[in-house]
Structure formats: C-alpha cells, structure tokens
Symmetry: C2
Subunit: 224 residues, 2 copies
Amino acid sequence: MAFYKDYAKVLVAVDCIIFGFDEGKLKILIGRRKIDPGRGEWSLYGGFVAANEDVNDAANRVLYELTGLKTLYMRQVGAFGKVDRDPGERVVSVAYYVLINTKDYDDNLRRQYGLEWVSVNAIPMLFSDHNIMVQKALKLMKQKISTEPVAFRLLPPLFTLTQLQRLYETILDTELDKRNFRKRVKEFSYIEKTELIDKTSSKRGAYLYRFNQHHYQEEQTFKL
Amino acid sequence: MAFYKDYAKVLVAVDCIIFGFDEGKLKILIGRRKIDPGRGEWSLYGGFVAANEDVNDAANRVLYELTGLKTLYMRQVGAFGKVDRDPGERVVSVAYYVLINTKDYDDNLRRQYGLEWVSVNAIPMLFSDHNIMVQKALKLMKQKISTEPVAFRLLPPLFTLTQLQRLYETILDTELDKRNFRKRVKEFSYIEKTELIDKTSSKRGAYLYRFNQHHYQEEQTFKL
DNA sequence: TCAAAAGTGTTAGATTTACACCCATGA
DNA sequence: TCATGGGTGTAAATCTAACACTTTTGA
C-alpha cells in the first residue's frame, strides 16, 4: 500500500505553548529538556506524533499527559519546518497554543514534570526555534482575544470585572478605562452577572460574573 | 545520529492555494490529480517535502515549478494532520496560500499542467481535505487583506482605483462607497498616483496608481 | 449627442474616548 | 475613621456612512 515511494519521511512533533494568567502576568509553561540533544535547555513541552495519530490528537494527548486537563482551548500556531531546526534529527513540528486557568493545573504535577511558569516578558532562550513559536503564538492569541471572547479560558469560572479588565490590559499591553470597559461588558449578553460576591480582593466585595457559552454561540449564529 | 528512534516517520507534503483576480472574480488554480489514489479528482497543486528541504522552501519550489514565478506573496495556512486524510498513505500536509497577478502567469504553462482558474464561489469537491484548506486560506486571506495592503499582489503593477475597489469588494464580499474608498486611499502614502492614464476601461481614462513597498515599510516601522 | 466610467465634499449618525466622584467595608 | 477597591454617566471628539452631480471622450 505504499503509493508514494521514493519520498522522504520525517518525524513530526507537536509543541505546546501553554498560556496562564497569574499574579497579574501572562505566563507560559516551560521546562528543562530531558533528552539529548539539548538536554537541560529551556524548552516548550512537546511530543512526537504517532503513526496512527491525528496531529491535533497528539497535541491533546501531550497536553493531557502533562496537565490532566481535557477540553482545553487549543489552536494551531503553524508548522515549523526548517531542516536543521532540531539538532538531533529532522523533525517537522506543529505548534499549538493553549489557554488554561492556572488554578486548574495541579502544582504538584507541574513540579513533577519540572515545569515553571514564566512571564512572557521574561522568556529565556529556548531550545531550537521555540522562541519563534512563542512569539507567533502570542501574536495570534492577542489577535484572537481582541476579536473573540476567549479570555475566560484564562480565568476561573467566576471572576470579577476587575480581574477581567486586568487580564485584557495585560494581554493587550494597554491601560483601559474602567467605566468604558464596564459599559462594553454590559453589551455582551454572554457575560453574565451572578448574585455572588467575591470578598477576597476588596473589603466591599465585587460581583462575580461568568461566561455563558450558550449565549455566545447564539450571538454568533445570529450574525450570519 | 538517530536520536529519536522508535518514533514514526511520515510523509510531509505542501499544498498551494493560488489566488488570482480575474474577470471581477477571486479565483484559485486547481487541476485534475494525476496520480493514484484519487487520480482524476479535482485537487490543489502540491508536492512532497524532500529530506533536506525546509518546508517553506518546498512550497516555494512547487510554486516555481508550476508558475515560473518567484518572490510571491505566500503565507502558511496551517498543518493538516488527520490520519486518513490521504487514502494512499499517511501524509501530513502543510497548506500555503499565494497571491498572484494572473497576468504574470503564462497561460500555456497553465494548460500544460492541466490547471483551471475557478471562482472561489464555485469550487467543486476537491481531493481529500483540500476544500477545508481552501476555506481556511480564504478566511485568513480576507483577514490579512483587511488589515494589511496585500491586495496589490493580485493586481498588475499599475492599476486604477476602480480596479482596486472592485478587488476589495470582491474579496470582502461587500459594496463600497466610491467616494469614501477614494478618500481612504488618499491617506495611504504607499498608494502612489502616477501621471499615466489607462484608457482600456473607459473613454475618459483613469489615472493609474502603483504600490510603493518602500513607503509601506516606513509607515510600519514608524508605528512601533 | 449620449452613454459610460472617472472624479470630487459635505453632513448626520455612530462610536470612541476622556473624565471624577460616591459607596461599602474591614482593619 | 480611613484606606482600599467597587461601582456609576455624560459630553466632546473622532470616525464612519450616506449621498449626487460634473467631467471627459469615443462611438
């Protein structure tokens, strides 16, 4: 069943840029590479695509291995195919970015894998072309977050408007006007105010909001 | 030097979505597949990535083979990695979209390769997942064209404002106001009016404009 | 002389931005 | 009682959208 003889086969890998929002900073998960070549260098977390595995599934598998989380928000960044990008052997890698709520990620698991959350403003030199992957992922993610409500993926299910605003400010790297921000939020039916109040961040307490996926999809279909 | 033994290697291919603007329509180049499996089906033009070839270079090579053109505007659409996407064998494919001025493309070459320009509004069923590639390429291209001046890549070096407007109208699938459009164009220093006049499309004649890449890059760097 | 495309400004409406004070509470 | 973060509306400025007539020329 070899239709396409005479053509070269190469290893295909997936690499994950895992974004989290913590301590008012946008961070990614990186670790020290545990295999040669490049052992000990900072690196994204990745893995090889198996013979009978969808590339997207491979990314999901790798991510599940790592975090124990499923149904994450994941988008492809692109394929990276320079010949010598991996010093070991030719590997074509497909990068994905993922948005997670850092609170959902077990910190023991993190330590077990030897991973660290590092601010996107202070990313060290990474293995191979991983810095380029991260930059591209960041660009795509910023673009996405400014046109679609995916910010929620980086927050707990219930969040205050101040939290949401800080998140947008951090990602878009700009200050937003509190009143204008709240005015805008009111227009989106998919951002639901609850009667719950968070008192951890202020004495007075702030209303908690939640994202209603159902309402969002309704709006989307209505647009067509 | 095999560092990563025990992992599966797969064929990697590139597929090209070649956009052109002709007869007031946005079109792509497709042909009848000449190899098994799927021989005779409509398909994008593509090729396999060689052992020592950058994936991007492979796309450029395939495109040069096909069109004789270099330095085309080319962007990656993404990697397509379903296990059974190719009925012959496992192939991970990286899709690219390309913008060309149809006048630069030798029509004999087109016939030699058995390719046809088909309107993006009337694309037949294509081999494998190629329809999905085209849809994604279209979406990305529309997005790109509405934020960056790449439309010029689809036009001759000299063009009239009416041509430019029709191009935007076609791609964005919307009617634009002539006066507002021209007002906007005047603001962009990289769209230069020449003293040349085109008389093929009207009795009165229309001024020809050109795109000044240099001016565009200046504006870009200024933004930072 | 007339049909067909080129060219040109103004105004109303919509959107975006700027801005300052009172509220509730725990320490 | 006061320091801290939560919550609220209005007006100016900017941007966007709507709109109609004159010009040129070849047939």
